[in-house]
């Protein structure tokens, strides 16, 4: 699927939620499907800063593609990571580098694209783009 299609899919899923609380419940459930993240990879240099919660991201180049695993102590962040992964994980690095983070605004989730780099998932996207280059 194309990035834009993935975004549309997730957007649809979230739009179908009757209220904000359900939306977050859905997001939290998505986080349950994240691949396991080894304790030994919870290293300071793998920490993505800028969230109130801790977030670790580890990535490898698989050929042209970027393969990532991540985790967080906050279940909502885990869910947001799952969303980002559904969109970007295992994509060609070029495609990741070219990805316009502003598209995430379509998801309609507060906090997912944040101004500056102080909080939320914005720093995750920045880190991913960095790792893709």
């Amino acid at each position: 699927m194309m990035i834009t299609e993935e975004i549309q899919d997730i957007r649809q899923l979230l739009e179908d939620c009757p209220d904000d609380l359900t939306k977050y419940q859905t997001i939290i459930e998505m986080g349950d499907d994240l691949d396991p993240y080894p304790e030994s990879y919870k290293l300071d240099e793998l920490k993505v800063s800028g969230c109130q919660s801790d977030l670790w991201l580890y990535a490898e180049h698989h050929g042209d593609c970027l393969h990532m695993i991540a985790t967080s102590d906050a279940v909502i962040v885990r869910g947001l990571v799952a969303i980002v992964f559904q969109i970007l994980n295992d994509r060609p690095r070029q495609e990741i580098r070219d990805f316009d983070a502003a598209l995430l605004a379509q998801l309609g989730i507060q906090n997912i694209v944040t101004p500056g780099r102080q909080n939320g998932i914005g720093s995750l996207i920045n880190r991913i783009k960095l790792l893709a280059s």
């Binding site: 904000d20 939306k23 977050y24 939290i28 279940v75 962040v77 507060q110």
Partner: protein, 401 residues
């Protein structure tokens, strides 16, 4: 209290938010906005240096805020009190000013004593002073009730070699426990220490009185006033000759390329064009507080805080920070097996606005709890219904987390 109708944001709020984050910033009554708007609409001029009517009017309005503040913090009836009130950009600026100007010549023979429960604004400037000058930085601990341990404070004061500054919060934003500030002041005075009280949370909530301190600092945006303005009360004489923290226009008497003569207190410390509209708005905010009656505000916030603390204690998995002490204005709590930002996010999804994380008071929270927390904080407009909404939303959130 019956003041909600003074706040358009509460009466017209399109999203029905229960705003329980007043310790971060308070809401602003309409009369303050009107006062600020009047400055921009009728006499939008710079102060002090202009001769024309608007400049004169702006100067009069700006300077009139000094006695308003002075009365409010009970400076007594000396005629010189204007000279003891400096306007800053906020509590943080006020503390930096003291650390840089008053303590400019302090060194390793001197000590600064802060408490375990301080806000970063009352920690980092002293660390910077320590790193720059060698001043000793001491931390006084809290007892099991969340009060500054006076015995420990006395030990530290005794051990000081030359000058001591005791810099503590009257109402720490990470505990909500009103300190025995009069005692702290008196004890410190017995050892000739200089006393700085961080009143960021207390000045909006209790009658403060500067007779037991030398410096008192607070922010406009936490006392129903505008952002970008704050106060430094400095006892007469303490800052007369100190090197200014910030320099530039309006704080000088005369300038030539070789040397510059600085102005006297308080203007000496108000370099550049001041936050004129902000100061004028702060004056109106304090008057508004006086119209409500500070004692009424104290009583209302105590009632709300008791109500909230009892309600929170009854929620499963919730542990209140210092559960056996009563709180004023804010309650800090954590939820077992739930990350604080998750809780705050789900509360927000139900239109309940709280703070989460380390509350700009990382040391005490890391040391005592080892984790981030959730804080519900109140203003004089907060209602028990809003607390009920918090509890309901919290219970719902915990079903998911």
């Amino acid at each position: 209290m019956n003041c909600r109708s003074d706040f358009a944001i509460l009466t017209d709020s399109p999203d029905g938010t229960a705003y329980l984050d007043s310790a971060a910033t308070s809401l602003t009554p309409d009369c303050v906005l009107e006062k600020v708007n009047r400055y921009y609409r009728y006499y939008n001029a710079n102060i002090h240096r202009g001769i024309h009517n608007w400049a004169e009017k702006a100067t009069v309005e700006y300077e009139a805020v000094r006695p308003i503040v002075g009365d409010f913090i009970q400076m007594g009836t000396t005629t010189v009190k204007d000279c003891e009130i400096v306007f800053s950009s906020g509590t943080t600026h006020s503390i930096n000013l003291v650390a840089n100007s008053f303590c400019a010549d302090w060194d390793s023979d001197d000590q600064v004593i802060i408490s375990e429960a301080e806000h970063h604004a009352n920690i980092v400037p002293w660390q910077q002073l320590r790193d720059r000058s060698g001043v000793k930085l001491q931390v006084v601990f809290l007892d099991e009730k969340g009060q500054i341990d006076l015995g420990h404070l006395e030990d530290l004061l005794k051990r000081g070699t030359r000058r001591s500054l005791v810099a503590t919060s009257i109402l720490p934003n990470a505990t909500g426990i009103l300190q025995d500030w009069q005692q702290i002041g008196q004890l410190s005075k017995m050892y000739d220490a200089t006393v700085l009280f961080d009143g960021a949370q207390s000045v909006p909530r209790i009658q403060t009185d500067v007779s037991v301190c030398d410096f008192l600092v607070f922010s406009g945006h936490k006392i129903y006033g505008p952002t970008g303005v704050g106060v430094l009360y400095a006892r007469q004489g303490l800052l007369d000759d100190a090197p200014p923290y910030m320099s530039g226009g309006d704080m000088i008497k005369t300038v030539n390329f070789a040397e510059t003569t600085f102005n006297i207190m308080p203007w000496r410390y108000e370099a550049g064009t001041q936050n004129i509209a902000g100061v004028i708005g702060l004056g109106r905010a304090i008057q508004w507080v006086q119209e409500q009656g500070i004692d009424n505000i104290t009583a209302h916030e105590a009632m709300i805080s008791d109500y909230a603390q009892e309600a929170l204690k009854s929620v499963d998995r919730v542990s209140v920070f210092f559960p056996d002490s009563s709180k004023l204005g804010l309650i800090v709590f954590a939820v077992d097996n739930a990350q604080s930002s998750d809780v705050a996010t789900l509360l927000n999804a139900q239109q309940v606005a709280v703070r989460s994380g380390y509350l700009c008071a990382e040391p005490i929270l890391r040391n005592r709890l080892g984790r981030g927390v959730i804080r519900a904080s109140f203003g004089c407009y907060t209602t028990t219904e809003e607390i009920d909404r918090l509890i309901t939303a919290l219970q719902k959130s915990l079903q998911t987390l």
